[in-house]
């Protein structure tokens, strides 16, 4: 790498960072990370049943390839990806498929989704695989292909298929790879533990991702409340192009846009993607999964999950197979205390509430929390006093109180003028509101409402277009018929005219003939 290049670039970045840090906004919720940060990662004892949903990612659900009664090995492909944005699903353990059908998923309502049920045989037999001897010798396309085949999705929570992102980034010629080790959600420590315990694998995974995209700058952003993880990652990345950067602990630092802003000083243009400014962001857990797939040939079949909260007996991090029930995880952590008031999948700021612990863990699940009512701090909402706490908290620079006022007035469309579509739903506004107004709830509702309206509008437009086309088609047919009839009439008229003319001509000729004959006769005598 050219030193001049680095110098100019880092100078620009420094100047930008000074400018942009003044814009950094967010909140400082109590972290509660000490609950689960210290005990090492434990492997969850194999549950009696595993429930593997076919859709664990953003995009189309995978199509299952196995049938009931079939024996599978650990890592065997169970369901293939469908379409451009999708991810395959693999067997999290060896055993037998005992059911294929609907099972409650990680939706607050307990919505059922297509799920494969596996009865483990306890042998944990892996499929035979032939990992490449040197994954760095593979072409970038080949790396992306293997990442896709291993069913890897973003493990930070969004669960976007990783290979799709790699290919998009390569095509957009990204120059900077940012690895997100922010983990700004309170309670969650799964990335922290992973970085402390498996830093060298993560760094190798990071370099593989960089290899697959051609990024030359590699930054790992870790919040300053994880000094052990920072030290471990610095040691592991020593003398490599991977640079570990300590970022201030603030929610939502781990959001892609905010991490890019603090590390590069650049902003993702509204409505655009990180790739538009030459940046690719991946979670550190994803890097670990990539390393496992390319070094060991193992698809993504397990993940680290934080089980924590004031109502969990012994909070800790578990390495659990995909498809284990939240109840299995909680049981492995000593069970629930009696004062559990709320169950949450994910972090407390953006996670979804669970109505029951009998839902399976999916690739994007970072935590299972059981919170007491004191931790939840729920109060009836009061009137907005326009204190603007939400304005200073919003990391996107929006005016949540103005948006909420418009949504309340039943006009979500005008909330868009105040930034509704730029809202990242981080919940900072709701967290800070002294009147306990569920602002982000309203915003998500309004976004859904607007999306529905837009769909309806598109549908109406499509219907209208079809109707217009039909009437045009009908008019054309009528027009063509008339035209044909007119042509036919004209032809007939022409033919008639010709006939008439011919008859006249014939008559005239006859007359001429007659006259000639007459003349002859007259002449003859």
């Amino acid at each position: 790498m050219n030193p001049n290049h680095v110098g100019a670039n880092s100078f620009a970045r420094l100047a930008n960072r000074v400018r942009m840090n003044s814009h950094l906004r967010g909140v400082h919720p109590e972290s509660h990370k000490a609950l689960s940060a210290e005990p090492p990662i434990r492997v969850l004892p194999l549950p009696e049943r595993l429930f593997v949903p076919l859709q664990q990612h953003i995009g189309a659900p995978a199509r299952h390839l196995v049938s009931v009664g079939e024996k599978v090995k650990k890592g065997q492909l169970l369901a293939a990806s469908v379409g451009l944005v999708s991810a395959p699903v693999h067997a999290p353990t060896s055993g037998r498929i005992i059911a294929i059908g609907d099972f409650p998923g990680s939706h607050p309502s307990g919505l059922e989704m297509p799920t494969l049920t596996i009865e483990p045989d306890g042998d944990e037999r892996w499929i035979e695989s032939e990992p490449p001897s040197n994954p760095f010798a593979l072409s970038p396309e080949e790396v992306a292909l293997r990442v896709g085949a291993a069913g890897i999705v973003g493990l930070g929570g969004a669960a976007f298929p990783a290979a799709v992102k790699l290919n998009l980034s390569r095509r957009s010629e990204v120059h900077t790879l940012i690895m997100n080790g922010g983990e700004c959600e309170p309670y969650l420590t799964c990335d922290d533990r992973l970085m402390r315990e498996r830093a060298s694998q993560i760094v190798e995974g990071i370099r593989l991702i960089a290899h697959a995209t051609g990024a030359s700058e590699i930054l790992v952003g870790i919040e300053d409340n994880k000094p052990e993880a920072i030290a471990a990652m610095r040691t592991a990345s020593f003398a490599s192009p991977v640079r570990v950067v300590q970022v201030p602990a603030m929610y939502p630092m781990g959001s892609e846009k905010q991490m890019i802003q603090v590390l590069t000083g650049q902003e993702v243009p509204a409505g655009g993607r990180a790739a538009d400014i030459g940046v690719l962001v991946h979670n550190v857990g994803t890097a670990f999964a990539v390393q496992q797939a390319l070094r060991l040939g193992r698809p993504l079949v397990s993940r680290i999950v934080t089980v924590s909260g004031g109502a969990i007996m012994a909070p800790c991090n578990l390495e659990a197979p995909i498809g284990a029930l939240a109840a299995d995880l909680v049981r492995a952590c000593g069970g629930l205390r009696s004062d559990a008031a709320r169950l949450v999948l994910g972090g407390p700021m953006m996670g979804t509430q669970l109505s029951s612990l009998d839902v399976p863990l999916v690739k994007g699940s970072s935590g299972v929390l059981a919170l007491t009512s004191a931790e939840v701090e729920q109060t009836r909402p009061g009137p907005c006093i326009r204190c603007s706490s939400c304005v200073s908290a919003c990391p996107m620079g929006l005016l949540p109180l103005e948006m909420a006022a418009r949504i309340r007035a039943g006009d979500p469309a005008s909330a868009v003028d105040w930034g509704l579509k730029d809202c990242i739903a981080c919940g900072s506004c709701s967290w800070v509101c002294p009147s306990h107004i569920p602002l982000v709830h309203w915003f998500n509702h309004a976004k859904g409402d607007l999306a529905a309206r837009e769909r309806l509008k598109m549908k109406n437009e499509a219907t209208k277009k079809l109707a217009d086309e039909r009437s045009e088609r009908m008019a054309r047919i009528v027009r063509e018929r008339e035209e044909a009839a007119r042509l036919r009439a004209a032809k007939k008229a022409a033919a008639d005219a010709a006939k008439k003319a011919a008859a006249e001509a014939a008559a005239a000729a006859k007359a001429v003939e007659k006259a000639a004959e007459k003349a002859k006769e007259e002449v003859a005598p």
């Binding site: 050219n2 001049n4 290049h5 110098g7 100019a8 620009a12 100047a15 930008n16 400018r19 814009h23 919720p29 109590e30 607050p108 650049q266 902003e267 993702v268 243009p269 509204a270 409505g271 655009g272 538009d276 400014i277 169950l343 949450v344 407390p348 700021m349 953006m350 996670g351 509430q353 109505s355 929390l369 919170l371 939840v376 701090e377 109060t379 009836r380 009137p383 907005c384 006093i385 326009r386 204190c387 304005v391 200073s392 990391p395 996107m396 620079g397 929006l398 005016l399 103005e402 105040w418 930034g419 730029d422 919940g427 709701s430 967290w431 800070v432 002294p434 009147s435 306990h436 569920p438």
Partner: protein, 376 residues
């Protein structure tokens, strides 16, 4: 069956009543000083203002069929009455405080729709109403007569002053500095002469002057205001801008025509400026919500205060200035919004090739052309 709730599943330890109580605590030192300085009649006035506010709010809510308890306990009505009491002449008759409180709570707040809905600061609306309707009572000032001094009225005498309209003894009544200077300037006497023997900056800063119940001690109000900033109840924008709005023209005009225009210390230490800058103009409901908007709002409050004090018919202008700027808040909110991430000031999506991004790209491009640079 569990009740399902939306994220976040955590919340900051804060509530509206906590905000109100913090503001009241910040007002306490200046209020206690006012009680000490003006004795029992001031205490009576404060009690009347707060009780009438609570009672009228309860009755109004009941009539409108709204839940009484929650709205009453949020503390907003008490705070409004507290601020109003601090802005009244300390020995004013009880009905002045009662009418003011009633107006502030019912007309100033509840008629607009209750907490958070009012366009104008209720306390200032009430004060302006009183000033226009009862100019005599609203400008009958008394000289400081500390409660511990021998001449100060006792408890019973205090009740008589507040509730029976007993006229204050001769020599007690006084004029405020602003009023005094206004009168003297009107008589073609320069403010320097007018001030001699009347204005002592150090004593004024501590609060040793005639004035409203709680506006006199600039130091104690400043301590309370800074505590509010430290507790993040308010931000620095409005107070600093409002003080600057008074200070800049005061300095400028004093420099040009020192004999006609009083200087900085006179303006900062007299009247309700400190109370207004930290506690009145910062009322969240009636002030703009973005930092830039708050700067404009504060500057406007300060400028108008100075203009009214200098050229207006009234000696003091804080209440008018704040109300005028309150009326401008919706307009300010429309034009002064924070910049949205990924968009420019006008709200247009950032172009990936412009600004900061362009700078980085140019740097990369130049360096790649240097000897040994990366060739594309």
């Amino acid at each position: 069956m569990t009740t399902l709730t939306h994220s976040p599943h955590a919340h900051a330890q804060t509530s509206v009543s906590q905000v109100m109580v913090t503001v009241m605590l910040a007002l306490t030192p200046a209020t206690l000083f006012g009680f000490w300085l003006y004795g029992w009649p001031a205490i009576n006035l404060w009690v009347v203002a707060l009780s009438v506010a609570l009672a009228s709010e309860a009755v109004t809510l009941k009539i409108m069929g709204r839940p009484v308890r929650g709205a009453l306990l949020d503390g907003s009505g008490l705070l409004t009455a507290w601020l109003l009491a601090l802005s009244l002449p300390p020995w004013a008759p009880w009905w002045l405080a009662a009418v003011g409180s009633l107006f502030a709570v019912v007309i100033g707040k509840q008629i607009f729709g209750g907490l958070g809905q009012n366009l104008f600061n209720p306390a200032m609306a009430a004060r302006v109403m009183l000033l226009i309707s009862f100019p005599l009572e609203m400008t009958s000032w008394i000289a400081p007569l500390p409660i511990t001094s021998a001449a100060a009225p006792g408890f019973l005498e205090g009740l008589a002053i507040t509730f029976a309209g007993m006229p204050p003894a001769d020599g007690v009544s006084s004029a405020t500095l602003l009023g005094h200077v206004k009168t003297e300037l009107g008589r073609e006497i320069s403010w320097v002469q007018a001030l001699s023997g009347f204005f002592d900056p150090a004593g004024f800063a501590l609060g040793q002057r005639a004035g409203s119940l709680g506006e006199t001690s600039a130091v104690l109000l400043l301590i309370g205001g800074l505590a509010l900033i430290a507790r993040r109840i308010i931000t620095w924008h409005i107070p600093v801008a409002m003080l600057a709005g008074v200070a800049i023209p005061a300095l400028l005009f004093n420099l040009i025509a020192p004999e006609r225009y009083p200087g900085l210390d006179y303006h900062l230490l007299s009247g309700a400026l400190i109370l207004g800058a930290f506690f009145i103009a910062t009322d969240p409901v009636s002030s703009p919500n973005s930092a830039s908007g708050q700067l404009v709002f504060g500057l406007g409050c300060g400028l108008l205060t100075w203009i009214i004090r200098t050229w207006g018919g009234y000696p003091e202008g804080v209440a008018f200035a704040v109300m005028l700027m309150n009326a401008g808040t919706p307009v300010i909110d429309r034009y002064f919004k924070p910049r949205i991430y990924g968009r420019d000031r006008k709200g247009v999506a950032l172009n990936p090739g412009v600004g900061a991004n362009l700078f980085a790209r140019v740097a990369v491009r130049i360096s790649s052309r240097l000897p040994g640079g990366k060739e594309k």
